[in-house]
């Protein structure tokens, strides 16, 4: 556990936590861009890419969520930012999971719900990452 050494209330994110958290952004962005490519070209491979991007985003997001929960449990001061952070991560993951199920439909059956969810999940991933880094991450001090 961190001893209060005059530094801020919150511990910084562990580097691995930072990696998996930040990783959700390009992965969910990838699914959004792939969905856009599929809607404009009808090339099924874009839809396949979107499926795998979402799966990757869920794996990274799942680890980020796990790390966030561990962080919360171990924190000396459970700041409300931590709950907000977990809330956004959880929302990202749950909607991302729904999006994965939508993307498991065949061909154009993924649309338009898949694209809408990809936009929402990408924004949620950005928000989670923003909160994670802004409140606990880079630079540490607040």
């Amino acid at each position: 556990m961190t001893v209060n050494d005059g530094r801020p209330l919150h511990r910084r994110l562990h580097p691995l936590h930072g990696v998996v958290l930040a990783g959700t952004v390009p992965l969910f962005l990838g699914s959004l861009l792939s969905d856009l490519a599929y809607t404009s070209t009808y090339h099924i491979q874009w839809s396949n890419f979107a499926s795998w991007f979402i799966t990757g985003g869920l794996v990274f997001g799942g680890f980020a969520l796990l790390a966030a929960v561990i962080y919360l449990v171990r924190a000396e001061h459970r700041h409300h930012h931590a709950f907000l952070y977990i809330f956004f991560l959880l929302a990202t993951w749950i909607l991302g999971f729904f999006n994965a199920l939508i993307h498991a439909k065949d061909a154009w059956a993924t649309m338009p719900t898949g694209l809408i969810l990809s936009i929402v999940v990408m924004l949620l991933a950005c928000a989670s990452t923003w909160i994670g880094f802004a409140r606990f991450g880079v630079g540490g001090a607040r």
Binding site: S47, A100, D106
Partner: protein, 436 residues
């Protein structure tokens, strides 16, 4: 998804009920037989409804046949028997094998593939033809030989004079056949290659025209509904007409998603097919069907089903093709998985003399399973008429155990229906009592 919880060995159930309430709240077997089946609106929950057969041994049990008929297993321990051919001397040839090499493209393919494999045999593909002989006509097939081996997932079989045609999953080949032979005299000759890239639906159904000059080969689609891309569907979902002598081919009819069995109607020479339709748009869509196949006809896949009902999952759409789509003759019910077809004969008994037998492998994409039986469709004036009648049942009993899954059905003119069961790897023979 819940299912027959009273016995968990019965069926593996694979659905989260809460996610599906909108989709599967009720999927009664609606009246989906005949020429104007009820077609509900397409629907699908977050997960496709799946109830996978859980294999169980037959033990002392047997399939159920109508009164006045008896059933016996004439061959067991085969290696995935699919289609059969009764030779002129009464010998039975059985094509054994399992094909396809479609790669998983999405996480879904890996998961669904694993789940579905639970409902099929674990025996390896035989890739061979087995011959059965009942020399004394007592109903016991005392001789069993391997007629040919090292084939590639053989399925359709046809005999024209001394030529035995076998539709492998990648090529149509020909053996020389002399009556009485129990083993092929040599390796087969290739008549023509068949479309085999991916082979999502790998079975190549086969029948010969009445005059024997032409062969018809059923080639299934490379996807459920174009989820492997449009390019993968070139030369798929159609019936080829192949010149038996030269191997030259042309599409005879198109838009047939998976024509799994072909046969020629006695007397008329008309080609008939059973076709498996698309999944994942609800328990009562889309009916598999029996149809006479019109030369040059387009039957809808992938753009539309049952005539002009547009399938919105397909992009780009093709309104012109939809406008030209033919409505099939006779619906057999959604998801029944019709894999066997043969015209009956007078020797099958008066009640079942005029019509076709259809082998139904049984559903996966449905909460309440359907199929898993052999039905008889009565013909009147050369056309299917009325409701299908159960002919052989008991493959999946009411307690849910699944002991067998019918594939090919073949009428032995001596008065028997031969049924290939690719779950228990058995050949069943149903005869009117009194005849052997």
């Amino acid at each position: 998804m819940n299912y027959f919880a009273s016995n968990k060995r019965l069926f593996i159930s694979v659905i989260v009920a809460g996610l599906l309430s909108a989709c599967n709240g009720n999927d009664p077997e609606s009246a989906q037989y005949g020429n104007s089946p009820e077609l509900p609106e397409p629907q699908r929950g977050l997960l496709p409804a799946m109830t996978i057969a859980q294999p169980a041994p037959w033990g002392d049990q047997q399939p159920t046949v109508p009164q006045g008929y008896s059933v016996s297993a004439i061959a067991t321990d085969l290696k995935v028997p699919r289609q059969m051919l009764v030779l002129p001397n009464g010998d039975i040839l059985i094509a054994e094998g399992k094909g396809g090499n479609a790669p998983a493209l999405k996480p879904k393919d890996i998961i669904a593939g694993y789940i579905k494999s639970k409902g099929t045999t674990s025996v390896e593909s035989g890739d061979r033809l087995t011959l059965l002989r009942d020399a004394d006509g007592d109903g016991t097939y005392e001789l069993r030989t391997v007629f040919a081996e090292n084939l590639n997932a053989p399925y359709g079989l046809a005999l024209v004079d001394n030529n035995l045609y076998v539709a492998n999953q990648d090529a149509l080949v020909r053996f020389d056949y002399r009556e009485g032979q129990t083993e092929a005299s040599g390796a087969p000759t290739k008549v023509t290659d068949l479309p085999s890239r991916i082979n999502h639906h790998w079975t190549k159904a086969l029948t010969a025209s009445a005059d024997g000059r032409l062969l018809y080969v059923g080639i299934g689609s490379n996807s459920n509904i174009t989820e492997r891309g449009m390019i993968a569907e070139v030369d798929r979902a159609m019936i080829w007409e192949v010149n038996a002598e030269t191997g030259a081919h042309r599409p005879y009819a198109t838009g047939l998603r998976n024509p799994t069995a072909l046969t020629i109607q006695p007397g008329t020479g008309q080609l008939w097919a059973v076709v498996n339709e698309r999944d994942e748009i609800g328990p009562n869509l889309v009916p598999d069907y029996l149809t006479s196949v019109q030369e040059g006809g387009f039957y809808g896949w992938p753009y539309s089903y049952w005539g002009q009902h547009v399938d919105d999952r397909v992009r780009p759409q093709d309104p012109q093709k939809v406008a030209s789509a033919i409505t099939p003759d006779y619906a057999l019910g959604s998801h029944v998985a019709a894999l066997g077809l043969d015209f009956s004969e007078a020797s099958m008994g008066a009640e079942f003399a005029d019509g076709v037998f259809v082998g139904m492998h049984g559903s996966w994409n449905r909460e309440n399973p359907v199929g898993y039986k052999v039905v008889f469709v009565l013909f009147r004036n050369g056309r299917p008429d009325g409701q299908p009648v159960d002919f052989v049942t008991g493959f999946r009993s009411d307690d849910g155990k699944t002991r067998g899954r019918p594939v090919g059905v073949t009428v032995d003119p001596r008065g028997a229906l031969i049924i290939a069961d690719d779950l228990s790897n058995t050949i069943w023979r149903v005869t009117p009592t009194g005849s052997q």
